[in-house]
Symmetry: C2
Subunit: 219 residues, 2 copies
């Protein structure tokens, strides 16, 4: 019934200057009229469920697709397909992040020009993806409540390079020692400009506000 | 009251062949009579709390110390110090993993010969740390329930290189869709030899079994 999951094995970039290449990709996407956002988080922070819920918010409003980057498996692209979301699975060949050229390979396979908004779900990792500009218009990081409120202290670059922090899994706040005020203080210490939204992808709480943030900023 | 946290900024390795260097470190540690274990996990999986609880199990039995590797902050070493556990904080200078030489620098600063057992808490990351042999006698990976049961599908190398998988935060199993049987099946698919123990560092459940696994295997 469902067509096969599209999996693309991207090759490591040949570009020495990823920053310049990312600028070039950003310019191309602007010309094409496609907004690309780069979503980063730890493994298991709930990015995929969040994207499934966001897709519902964009139905009939924006042509939306997702690029799922993983080292292996097609678990995430399959979840997207089951939710009726256009998606592609990118395999990084063991690489811990995507750079601009790997992102470009994925966009080409996806046919990004057919979409208003593409969100790249980067490899689950709080370190390396933050070091590589993918050419996205903005970076979003997701932190889930069970991970703890101290993550901005330990992974500074992730917070410095993101415009939006989504605190996910707020439905389990009662079961964890997680101090929302402390989290905000630590995140703002790393990046005073970062905006912070709270959500539960499981219950749907806070999802419309994330969609609104994206629409207000880019459409 | 407490002495200052010892923080060491390790330098990137000059050794081209990390595997050979790791073998050399393993030989040195064997001579010295110190068992080094390398604990790896996603950010927020609960490694630090687990190590604090394990330390209690080793009190009066083994001379035990911890090396906390992070990109920034001294949150973990401070937690160890407050729990009365000998520890050192290693800053990786932005690096996403430790190699054998960085581990050696930490062991020297810690004065590892004074301990029977040293556990290295590697940088929170399911990708890169698995690629670098630290010279440890064994690798342990921790997966927390909120991260989901599909992680072995997405991060194959982590499971292939570990001898023990600790499934942590079992106290929140009722609040998450986490299938323990599936998790075991996926982990064994990556590594048929991997041993799996379930624990809650918060409640203490399963901690004696982890200590026993370590004692039986190395002492």
């Amino acid at each position: 019934m469902t067509e096969d999951i599209r999996i693309i094995e991207v090759k490591q970039s040949v570009f020495a200057d990823n920053d310049a290449d990312a600028e070039e990709l950003r310019r191309q996407l602007q010309e094409e009229g496609t907004v690309l956002l780069n979503m980063m988080a730890s493994p298991g922070a709930g990015k995929t469920t969040l994207l499934k819920k966001l897709a519902k918010e964009f139905e009939g409003v924006l042509r939306f697709a997702v690029m799922e980057a993983d080292i292996d498996s097609d678990v995430d692209a399959r979840a997207m397909r089951e939710a009726g979301v256009d998606s592609i699975q990118i395999h990084t060949g063991g690489m811990c992040h995507l750079d601009a050229d790997m992102t470009r390979q994925g966009l080409k396979e996806l046919n990004s020009a057919a979409y208003d908004l593409v969100i790249l779900e980067n490899v689950g990792n709080l370190v390396c993806p933050a070091e590589f500009d993918t050419g996205a218009a903005a970076n979003i990081t997701v932190l889930s409540v069970p991970e703890g409120d101290d993550k901005p202290l330990k992974y500074p670059l992730m917070y410095e390079t993101c415009q939006l922090l989504v605190v996910n899994k707020t439905d389990v706040l009662p079961y964890f020692d997680f101090d929302c005020e402390k989290l905000c203080e630590y995140a703002k210490r790393r990046n005073p400009e970062i905006e912070i939204l709270f959500a539960s992808a499981k219950t749907g709480e806070g999802i419309p506000e994330i969609a609104e943030w994206i629409r207000n900023r880019f459409f």
